[in-house]
């Protein structure tokens, strides 16, 4: 973090490393997904979406849970660091969650013959999660006292995080009524190469998450830094205003300050 104070950009050795790994990882994933891994027996080529769909779903959860943890620590330690973490993670969570919805819909079109199914629990709960994050970010956008806003947002973040288990377990609870895949990972029915590609997917999405996180965190940190830097100026203005009021109302008085 010290480095951010000196640097113009949000890059550092760590993120550059991650960036480079992504440059290598993403093409590799694509190659494995589209060329090397086999098509599924009943899902055909559409199965290839699983390599991004599932990792993104998992990391969407990770992102929101990170937001929750950041929020708890912010309320506890009152440290801006945690607040910035929570905020950054939520934004990435929103993107991931949105991508899960999109890839899922694209996937659903050939496999279930529909873009969207209201009766499906997984779909609806994922949408609900998406809306929760949207609400969180809407609250963060409100023009208000930053401290007050941060506290309120933390509470919303915590509530969103405690909903993750509920949303995740929902498939089990709603069992009778879902089109959506049940844990095919744990069934152990996947072929080796498929499994490996999926594993690769996890790693790539994971690094992407970390990479985005660090950048977004630094941007957030710098934003507050800039705001803090502006304070002196605002205060100067305010003091002058005080003086000018004095001049207007009591012209005989020469010295307002000190």
């Amino acid at each position: 973090m010290q480095s951010t104070e000196k640097q113009e950009f949000t890059t550092s050795r760590g993120t550059r490393f991650m960036g480079i790994s992504l440059l290598i990882g993403i093409p590799t994933l694509l190659i494995f997904a589209f060329l090397l891994s086999p098509a599924d027996d009943n899902m055909d080529d559409a199965v290839r979406l699983i390599y991004v769909h599932v990792p993104m779903a998992i990391f969407a959860y990770v992102a929101i849970i990170t937001t929750g943890i950041g929020s708890v620590f912010f309320l506890w330690k009152k440290s801006r660091w945690w607040d910035t973490v929570a905020h950054a993670s939520a934004e990435i969570g929103l993107i991931l969650c949105g991508l899960v919805l999109i890839t899922g819909s694209i996937w659903g079109r050939p496999t279930w013959n529909t873009w969207w199914e209201w009766g499906d629990v997984r779909l609806v709960t994922t949408l609900v999660l998406f809306l929760m994050i949207l609400g969180y970010l809407a609250l963060r956008q409100v023009p208000a006292n930053p401290e007050m806003r941060a506290k309120r947002a933390s509470v919303v973040g915590i509530i969103a995080a405690v909903n993750i288990p509920i949303i995740n377990r929902s498939v089990e609870w709603w069992e009778n009524n879902t089109l959506h895949q049940k844990s095919s990972l744990t069934d152990g029915k996947l072929e080796n190469l498929t499994l490996f590609t999926l594993f690769l997917g996890f790693i790539v999405v994971g690094i992407s998450y970390l990479w985005l996180m660090t950048h977004r965190f630094r941007v957030g940190w710098m934003t507050t830094e800039i705001e803090t830097a502006g304070i002196a100026e605002l205060i100067e203005e305010r003091l002058n205003e005080g003086n000018s009021t004095v001049v207007n109302s009591q012209p005989q008085q020469k010295d307002g300050t000190k």
């Binding site: 709960t125 929760m132 609400g135 809407a138 506290k151 309120r152 919303v156 609870w173």
Partner: protein
């Protein structure tokens, strides 16, 4: 702590009795919703009865939003909130008190709504205990998260709009569960309604706890 909470509850209920905003202005809408749906779907009363449970909870939730806003307005309209925060009543007590106040009002509304629905839609109840248990838990989830979110959405200069945006997704799982439980209690679906009570209790308890723990943090900076 509970003495203070009860004070706050009593005060909120007294204000409601005096101003009758919830009863006179909010309650009629729930009835209107049911009547409208009755007409809108008339053709086929089976459909109507199938929608009954969902309709019940969706309208309860929407009316709850109005009631929550009212509960916040009571404190903020002439900045009584300042005095409340200086009063020495702990935020947890305020939270509990306002939650109970809201709870009581919502339960009364639900009873009315329920009676009207059963009569209008001609529905028959198979399991009253299930109805009562799920209503108790869901209303707790609504009022505990509502009290919390009401104050989160207030005083930001954004007015009413933020509340539904934040509040509805958080309650969606509870409402879904409650709808299913009611569906079973009315004999409209074949799922096991009692299984849903587990979900509902988890949600109700978690929200109440989060509310009790974090309400103070929010009040700190009003």
């Amino acid at each position: 702590m509970f003495r203070d909470a009860w004070l706050v509850t009593k005060k909120d209920l007294l204000i409601e009795i005096r101003s009758r905003i919830v009863i006179n202005q909010i309650a009629p809408y729930t009835l209107l919703i049911l009547v409208l749906f009755g007409f809108a779907l008339d053709a086929d009363t089976e459909t109507l009865r199938d929608t009954g449970p969902g309709l019940f909870w969706v309208s309860t939730l929407l009316v709850a939003i109005l009631a929550i806003q009212r509960s916040v307005d009571i404190e903020t309209s002439d900045s009584a909130i300042d005095r409340l925060m200086l009063s020495g009543i702990s935020p947890t007590s305020i939270y509990i008190g306002k939650t109970i106040g809201l709870y009581i009002q919502l339960i009364i509304l639900e009873v009315m709504l329920f009676i009207v629905m059963v009569v209008l839609f001609d529905m028959s109840v198979e399991s009253y205990p299930l109805i009562i248990a799920s209503a108790i838990l869901t209303t707790l989830a609504i009022s505990s998260s509502g009290t919390l979110y009401g104050v989160i959405a207030s005083g930001l200069g954004v007015r009413e709009t933020l509340l539904p945006v934040l509040f509805l997704p958080v309650l969606a799982p509870a409402i879904i569960g409650a709808t299913r439980a009611f569906g079973d209690a009315f004999g409209r679906v074949s799922s096991d309604g009692w299984a849903w009570l587990g979900l509902l209790s988890v949600i109700a308890i978690v929200y109440t706890l989060v509310g009790m723990l974090t309400y103070g943090n929010i009040l700190e900076d009003t």
